[in-house]
Subunit: 346 residues, 4 copies
């Protein structure tokens, strides 16, 4: 059993970590922090976590926490995470950071999109981008993992085989994504009030969302050249799920069957990626609560366009589930431990 602490546990990703880790046989939760809710019981905020009856939020006292755990999940707001990550990293702790602070290797890009300086460039160099399907071997050896953003996870997994195989025109990538409302976090804001979201649908942050450079960084690495993409997020009136519809020009005359074969081959040994049969396409309803990414695709022969659609649960494969997957890799546990449950449907 390893001792695990969760810093920033009062949001949905924190609660989801607790939910998942309860079923993990190798983990003992020794601390959960929240500044705002310090002193409250976890069950005061999250009655569904009733089996953590004795767990109480504490403030993020780094020195004290360092003595309590071997591995730290950090679910802190962007920018706020920088220093905490650096602190625990330097104490020799394993760190899985769910913020964006250690995802972008180029601090100039980070500073441009997040409008804040990065003050821990040395530690940043040690971070591995925690998408196991791309960087499994590096993650296994990492002490610090930057857990991917929710949108990037679905987008990158959808594009990886096609870009790697060089079958698409990388100048024309369009990623039209739709996210459940839990992606916005647990916020007391009118914009996320029930009556403002229910029965609605809208685009937001058009041509300006912060996950854009993260997607571009990873796709560029795969392509071996700098890519830019059109990425448009939308808000779905559901709790969970990200659905991405991706449009790319085919570099040559492609056939749906051939592309599916390529995807199946690329992901043959992946436990958490399901490439669907020809004519079958994902629905977020079928991944809700699970760590799986479902992928379907079709070539539009009339327009010469490859259309890839992917679905994940933004709180699981898009956040806390992937964080546990990364922990498993970092600690040498079987990669699927604690993550094998299927989606809750309906």
């Amino acid at each position: 059993m390893i001792k695990v602490a969760i810093c920033g546990g009062s949001g949905y990703t924190g609660a989801e970590l607790l939910r998942i880790l309860l079923m993990h046989p190798e983990v003992e939760i020794t601390a959960v922090t929240s500044e705002k809710s310090a002193g409250k019981r976890v069950t005061d905020l999250f009655p569904h976590l009733h089996r953590y009856a004795h767990l109480v939020f504490e403030p993020l006292n780094k020195d004290e926490l360092a003595g309590k755990a071997d591995l730290f999940f950090l679910a802190l707001p962007h920018a706020a995470s920088q220093e905490a990550v650096d602190f625990f990293y330097k104490k020799g702790k394993k760190v899985i950071d769910l913020s964006a602070d250690y995802r972008l290797a180029d601090t100039a890009v980070y500073e441009e999109w997040y409008k804040t300086p990065h003050n821990f460039k040395g530690t940043l160099k040690e971070a591995v981008y925690g998408l196991p399907e791309l960087h499994r071997e590096r993650i296994k050896k990492a002490q610090l993992v930057a857990n991917p953003g929710c949108y990037p996870t679905g987008a990158i997994l959808g594009l990886y085989p096609a870009i790697k195989a060089g079958i698409i025109d990388t100048a024309t990538i369009i990623i039209d994504s739709k996210s459940g409302t839990s992606g916005a976090g647990r916020k007391a804001e009118t914009a996320y009030a029930y009556c403002e979201v229910n029965e609605g649908f809208k685009a937001y942050a058009i041509a300006a969302h912060r996950h854009t450079p993260e997607i571009e960084q990873e796709l560029s690495t795969i392509a071996g050249k700098k890519l830019i993409v059109n990425f448009t997020p939308h808000l779905l009136p559901v709790d969970r799920g990200i659905f991405s519809t991706i449009y790319v020009k085919a570099a040559e005359a492609l056939d749906t069957g051939d592309v599916l074969k390529l995807y199946n081959t690329t992901y043959a040994t992946e436990q958490f990626v399901n490439v669907l049969e020809e004519g079958v396409f994902p629905n977020i309803i079928n991944v809700r609560g699970s760590n799986y990414c479902a992928i379907g695709l079709k070539v539009n022969k009339r327009t010469g366009t490859l259309i890839i659609v992917t679905a994940i649960d933004n709180l699981v494969k898009g956040a806390s589930g992937q964080a546990v997957q990364n922990m498993n890799l970092v600690m040498g546990f079987p990669e699927t431990t604690g993550l094998e449950s299927l989606a809750l449907f309906p």
Copy 2:
């Protein structure tokens, strides 16, 4: 007062016609048909229409109906509408057809996408495509109006000014649309059962939806050359609304403000198109129950892409509201009669 009959009144578009027409001062409903529900009261199927207490569904007996009304709304299934339209048309009646049967001028295209022959090519030639913003003057003089499909309405209104002005590369049009579930009609099918749709989101009919040629026909006319488009519909877990996110390459260096000016100018006198201010984007929640189309747009300078987003209520501007708008034009009533109510929010 004109006498109006609704053929095929037991679906959502039929019910919506009844709801809207109740507030129309120039219209008297004299008959509503339904084969399956013949003999039942309208209120047996639709309790919300309680002010039509004495209206009973009758079978579609064309000869009998011809004596009952001056204008016919046909909300019959595709293919089934062909003959009924022709019949009432030849009887000298005004006809607003909500099916797809008289929308496509080229019967070869119709037959390819709808897999059924078109047997009334003579009458088809008389039909006017009922998008008032494009064809108002022809509609005013028409006896037969082919009411547009829901997806085409939102897509064409979003693209019309840009294509007409020649500011985009028409070879690269991508239309990513999301529709509320009422767009599927009132059906006893597992696929549209509550638990199968709620909390879900999926794409369907990828590269194969029948509204594709309808969109292409109208955009080609605007462009003055044959266009093909990528069109992907998705199913939204809401009752009403279609949201379209449209991506086009800019033909030249465009600025968001300039494009907005163009859109404002193009739609300056349109009562039912709202071009939103820079930085403001539509949400289907704000058009629900109304006949308005809201349009927002932004140029992505990094990628040279113009992103246009439009929102309509699929049952109103996308079907029954637009049908009433067309009736108003055909009959010489003020275009907005019966259609002035704002969206129901929340």
Copy 3:
């Protein structure tokens, strides 16, 4: 045309007043107030109200407002409304108050349940409880109308005929009510965030809700003796609608048909109450956006219980629609003006 001002227009009931009044031929809106949103356009908060393009929220400057309008709708928070009502009342203005401040005739009861003193007992005496089905003639002559609460409207209309006719045991009334989330107002609170309400259902304020004394006051008046009731509100994951399931012991051997006859007779001339046929029961979906109250009932012969179920739209018959109905009565307009539209379904 009368000049109308809305004080406290930035919530859902304010927006709903604006939506309804746009279609009212006798009304001109001359002012809308909001402290928090003063200086903002109405459309900045409510894009669906785009036909009020030039209306701007102003602060509640009572002296200035007094010169602007003949009739005032007050949609201010409880307690805050007391003084404003008194002010406009004393200026000789017609006032429709949507708060609870002038609903309870007994200030001791008000002070017990609202935990705040009532400082305008003289003006309180002039207020008429604005449920037209009970107090129409008094409302017509009133200068100040206390618009009923949403829960009381559905509960009282459901019980009025039975209590008046003396056919039930008034000692055993149980009112189990379920309200859509808009009933909580437009609030930036975590408890009403989308993910906290969606897919959920809960009771709240059990045995402690402030609408209890209001229900008891009106039912006691009908019964001619003091009644107390069990009232339990619940939160429904829908935007609009209140459904009340009411259980009462039958005072004698009752038959469903006989009770329905009584209800039909009692409400025979009411425009906004629909007593449904035997075997038919209401659904909030069928009153959404309309000013109608639908009532169904059944006698459980096994247990000797009369079960009455009622449905209203909490923002319309439960708030703003009823306020307009009261305005119509106060001003001598036809009672249904502006309120005739049917429910938006689906």
Copy 4:
């Protein structure tokens, strides 16, 4: 490992059994039947069950099935289950029947409410009503368990301690229940279509629901005398969850704290019943996907009424989860095996 077959596996309860049993270390699924879907893969109907890639629905060939499994879950329609249960029972198999066919000990009551004869009275005598909190010791020794209905589970657990302790007037029980839509099963019916349920709420089967005699049977046993109850089910626009609001006259002057103490004592050793603290009440959102029943209560001192509220997931504690709990008891496995996961929130 025991071999388990599921008869009637194409509905939501069948799918839920598969979802739960995948995580059960002692179970191997050897057959799943469906008449309508025979020959189809489980994943054709339920893509979320993708880890059952090779499982195919087969027809209910009883003789063949008898050789395939040691324990049978029967999720067949009412009446259809009678014979199949009898068959497997007589073959010496363990049977957990999720239908209503073996729940009512009195066949006259069964025949009155289900309008069909009971042809296996001998086998019926051997059935144990599978509510572990009431009948654990008998279930452990049973070969045939009649798994309780969803509504009865929540209602009986809410009333058991109060009736057993004799603190309420059992002549006045009112159970107002609200169920998620999955309770209606996986049906192609217009009444359960998305747009008919979404944003709606209604009562149904008022004073006539078939779960009434089941509730009365169990409560009568607890009370030691024959009881009748008012039970009203409602349809909630959510996937999962049953919330019951129960009203009973207090037999004596009760205090909320004392009643809570009684409930805590009664359920002290129960793993799946959570009695909440004073002032805290359940929400179906917090039991979704879990086997827990949450109970809150309050005494209304003004009216002398005890109000008990309970929440369960209708597909888990209300059906398939409880069926697995019963299997665990029957087989001698730890009672919580496979059932320990917490609710999925949000």
